[in-house]
């Protein structure tokens, strides 16, 4: 189904083929290759149609392909995808938070329907400071200040229409806020900043909901129509709610198509996408257009989130949020432009996934894992669709005139070694000393920070140096964690053959990191043809697919007990420390983490100063010019992906050792993970500063459970629930105000000052020279 849709998209490209056909007849391998691509499209179309017929003509397949549930799922994916397309057409932003918007609206609606109240995002109450000061001065102080309200009560359950109305008003306001506060200031920012901002919004919405309702599923109030079944021809039945949802999405698709096809508003939006002045000529402010499209986007995805919430038994903070991946995949099938193709592909995708799920429980040929159905096969589908579409459309080098808009954060070359070695050495030594005197909990926070530094360093290499936005680094860490678990315990076996025996301590860690490196090279493959935000999409989809396919696979993750990791007693983090205050977290594990950080940080700094580093930055700066300078762009990207994956792998091994097992909730994006881990580490790495080692250190300090939040929690009594809320707010603010991240911004101001000083020095030196030259006029001519 989805294949056939992608073939439809390719049809316009094939229209050009007949015109050049005479050319390709005479000679030319290039022309023939393009022909093959079109041919491939037709073959895919034919196979798709054949499979579709086979499914439709077989009764049991048909009844599990066309079901109320699968079509409702398709409608929800379609609505989120329409939201994605709208914001992309209106303001050029690929909004990763579209699914989160639908999820949030579903919660707003459910709260209104069940509790009759509108929950308010928790914000730190400024008055708490007064309370804290009072408490500090007088330990027995009972002073309490007014609490920040957590909800607005409507005095009883709202009716269906009024609840929808209130939730939709919220969605409209939210859309306007996104536009005016975040994405309008970012309209000329590089794609990286936009990706970061939308990821920040996703994390924020998710964290707010977790704070208010917990991370578990929340029961909803089912609409009455759920009980009423409607019969359709060929034995298909669904309930009236499902029919409503499906019809609404189709109506919206048609309306949007009409809006963009026939109205001046649509024409102006299309014009503004090409050139802002074009829209002004039609009498529309580009700002108005972008804002309106944001409101339409949040409105539609919110409405469907609401309707589906009244249609399913429960909502949870992650499921709808992560539907953004299938939504992005179908939006890409529609080239982020076509509403019709997007919606059709969404239904096709959801129905195919339902069918795969059905095959999983009924067909004997379906792959098994640990005695039960192999999980995650249906979740692989959106990823495969994305890969197919993007590789199909991608180019090995950007074509002429392809705008590379905006610049990435500056990656400073640490040239003067003396100043750069002093500070790290002091920090490292004091960190060691600190670990010996710190309380067990503080020691854990230091370890978490050190591990956060390592994972952030992997982003420095990949995103900072070579400009590739990968959201799969935590997945790579997880691959390493699980590989480590197997290598340290029973070794790796395949059909009773021992491939890898059980490995002793540092070798098993290296093995894990090397496995991550191999997977990283696989991730690099699409990056050779796919750039910018599309690469972010493809890597995120890969991370989620691997999570459900591998990390949640009972054959890999050791089931309920988890996949244990054997650690030498001397380093075992949970064993009592031999030195220090004798409690809890083993200080030697902290020292080990610190050693890893120092070695990796030195390597990453070295990389920047080397010939390889220059090639990485040249590739990031301009792929075409780099190729013209003899840089093998593909090999350069592969190198960066491999190094970054190795570093991420080390981080994953450290996480695994720290908790004693490899566990999907630490590496994955789907539940049981409380937050999408891939997104969270990316956001914090950016917050610290993604282009330099000091940024990675800053990021490590900031990560959840790290030193800064530990201090906030123990000294200011800020609940750890706020960690992600503050962190994601910080990410959004940083993306808008300081795209170089915290360390980057500090570094930039330091460099500015140094340069000004240097400038003065050269000016006075030049004045001296000129003075000297005026004595010998002949030389001054040669010098100028």
């Amino acid at each position: 189904m989805t294949e056939s849709s992608s073939a439809d998209v390719a049809a316009p490209a094939s229209a050009a083929a007949p015109a050049s056909a005479p050319a390709s007849e005479q000679s030319g391998r290039r022309a023939r290759r393009r022909f093959t691509k079109t041919d491939f499209g037709w073959i895919a179309l034919a196979v798709g149609v054949a499979l579709l017929l086979r499914v439709l003509l077989t009764r049991d397949m048909r009844l599990h392909f066309i079901t109320g549930a699968s079509l409702t799922q398709g409608a929800l994916i379609a609505a989120i995808a329409l939201g994605v397309v709208l914001t992309y057409r209106g303001s050029g932003v690929v909004n990763f938070a579209t699914g989160a918007t639908a999820m949030y609206a579903a919660y707003v609606y459910t709260d209104l329907r069940i509790n009759g109240q509108l929950f308010i995002p928790p914000l730190p109450n400024p008055l708490v400071l007064i309370e804290a000061v009072a408490h500090h001065l007088d330990k027995k102080s009972t002073l309490t200040v007014p609490h920040w309200p957590t909800e607005i009560s409507f005095g009883g359950r709202l009716t269906l229409p009024s609840a929808i109305l209130v939730a939709l008003i919220f969605a409209v306001v939210f859309g306007l806020a996104l536009h005016f506060l975040i994405f309008r200031p970012l309209r000329n920012a590089p794609p990286l900043a936009k990706v970061v901002a939308s990821v920040g919004v996703l994390l924020l919405l998710q964290a707010v909901v977790v704070r208010r309702f917990g991370s578990g599923a929340q029961a909803t109030l089912l609409n009455k129509g759920v009980a009423k079944q409607v019969k359709f021809p060929f034995g298909v039945t669904m309930n009236t709610e499902q029919v409503t949802v499906i019809v609404i999405v189709i109506v919206f698709t048609v309306l949007l198509w009409g809006l963009f096809r026939f109205t001046r508003f649509g024409l102006a939006t299309r014009a503004a996408a090409e050139n802002e002045k074009g829209a002004m000529l039609l009498g529309f402010s580009p700002d108005f257009l972008a804002g309106s499209n944001w409101v339409l986007s949040t409105g539609i995805s919110a409405l469907l989130g609401i309707l589906v919430a009244g249609n399913q038994k429960s909502v949870d903070p992650l499921t709808i949020t992560l539907l953004v991946i299938p939504a992005l995949s179908v939006a890409l099938v529609g080239n982020l432009t076509s509403f019709g193709i997007t919606t059709a592909a969404a239904f096709g995708l959801a129905m195919t996934q339902a069918l795969i799920g059905y095959f999983g429980v009924t067909r004997t040929w379906f792959p098994q894992a640990g005695g039960s159905t192999l999980p995650g096969v249906a979740d692989l589908l959106p990823f495969l669709v994305i890969v197919a579409v993007l590789i199909w459309r991608g180019d090995a080098l950007p074509t002429r005139g392809a705008v590379s808009s905006g610049r990435l954060p500056f990656a400073p070359n640490p040239s003067r070694l003396s100043t750069h070695i002093f500070a790290p050495v002091v920090v490292a030594i004091s960190a060691v000393l600190l670990m010996f005197v710190a309380t067990p909990n503080a020691r854990l926070a230091i370890m978490t920070t050190l591990i956060g530094v390592v994972i952030s360093l992997s982003f420095v290499v990949l995103t900072g140096y070579v400009g590739q936005i990968s959201l799969a680094q935590m997945m790579l860490a997880g691959i390493s964690g699980f590989a480590l678990s197997h290598a340290s315990e029973q070794g790796i076996h395949l059909y009773k053959h021992t491939l890898i025996p059980s490995l002793p301590f540092p070798l098993d860690i290296l093995f894990g990191a090397l496995v991550a490196m191999v997977v990283g090279l696989i991730v690099a493959q699409p990056a050779l043809r796919v750039r910018g935000v599309n690469l972010a999409i493809i890597t995120f989809a890969f991370a989620v697919a691997m999570d459900s396919f591998l990390f949640q696979n009972p054959g890999v993750n050791g089931g309920f007990a988890g996949a244990p990791i054997r650690v030498p007693t001397g380093l075992n983090p949970v064993k009592t420390a031999v030195i220090g205050n004798g409690n809890g977290a083993n200080v030697w594990f902290g020292v080990f983490c610190l050693a890893v950080v120092v070695v990796i940080a030195a390597a990453v700094v070295n990389l920047r100063r080397s010939a390889t580093g220059r090639r990485l930055l040249a590739t990031r700066s301009n792929e075409r010019a780099a190729a013209a300078a003899g840089v093998d762009v593909a090999a350069t990207k592969r190198t960066a992906f491999a190094i970054a994956a190795f570093i991420a792998g080390l981080a994953g091994a450290l996480v695994g050792i720290r908790i004693g097992k490899a566990d999907p909730s630490y590496f994955g994006d789907l539940p049981p993970a409380l937050v999408p881990q891939s997104l969270a580490v990316f956001a914090f790495a950016y917050l610290g500063g993604i282009a330099c080692v000091s940024g990675a250190v800053t990021a490590g300090l900031l990560v959840p459970g790290g030193i800064i939040f530990y201090i906030l929690e123990t000294d200011l009594h800020i609940s750890p629930d706020f960690t992600l809320i503050l962190g994601s707010l910080g990410v959004i603010v940083t993306a808008v105000l300081k795209p170089e991240g915290i360390a980057g911004a500090v570094g930039a101001s330091l460099r500015d000052r140094a340069r000004r000083r240097e400038h003065h020095a050269t000016l006075s030196a030049r004045a001296d020279r000129e003075l000297a030259a005026s004595a010998t006029p002949a030389e001054s001519g040669a010098a100028s």
Binding site: A396, R614, R615, N622, A628, D632
Partner: protein, 254 residues
Amino acid sequence: MTALLETTELRVTFGGLRAVDDLNLRVEAGQLVGLIGPNGAGKTTTIDAITGFVPSTGSISFDGDEVDRLPAHRRARRGLVRTWQSLELFDDLTIIENLLVASEQASLRDVFVDLVAPRRRRDDSAALHALHVLGIAELSDRMPTEISQGQRKLVGVARALAAVPKLVCMDEPAAGLDSRESIELGDRLRTVVDSGVTILLVDHDMGLVLNVCDYIYVIEFGKKIAEGTPSDIVHDDRVIEAYLGAAHRKSDAE
């Protein structure tokens, strides 16, 4: 003399449009060859095709080998390099680093050594030489964003020379320069050719091209309409019609 670069029936099509149409070019080693033509004649596309930035058909032989199946960076490593009309400097690297990217050879083993000892045996002689030839040695530690447009142009040329090329395809190096700067550039290009580097020069500036080139090709709508020495070209009727025609008609009308 053997031809350093020879294209046979070089063709580039965009959809139904033939941007370069069966072009046969021959560039002898040690020469400065000009490629001129009106706007949209396919000059930049020709360079893109020769250096591997657009798919083309026909054959491109360089230094005795067929290179038309090689990716762009492999052609560059063989000594077939180019400059860009829009310069395309690496804004995140200093001028000398820009040149080093082009002059350093890459190998996988080096990556491992780079992680440990990034500064060993940095051979920057080719890069420094290129800066000296173009007279911009004092810029080496500046950033591309800090220098003037004219200097940026010279850096673009220097980066091509830093690769120690056999042939440099130059895309409008004189665009945006005034006539004095253009003459200066011409002198420097002659110095470059005298040092043993062959140049294929694409430019609008007829003065520059006629002054410095040994041999000139004229194309229009992707087809070659004339070739010869500068003096042949200025007297060629088809060139006058195609290239100067508009100007002539304009002067007739006045």
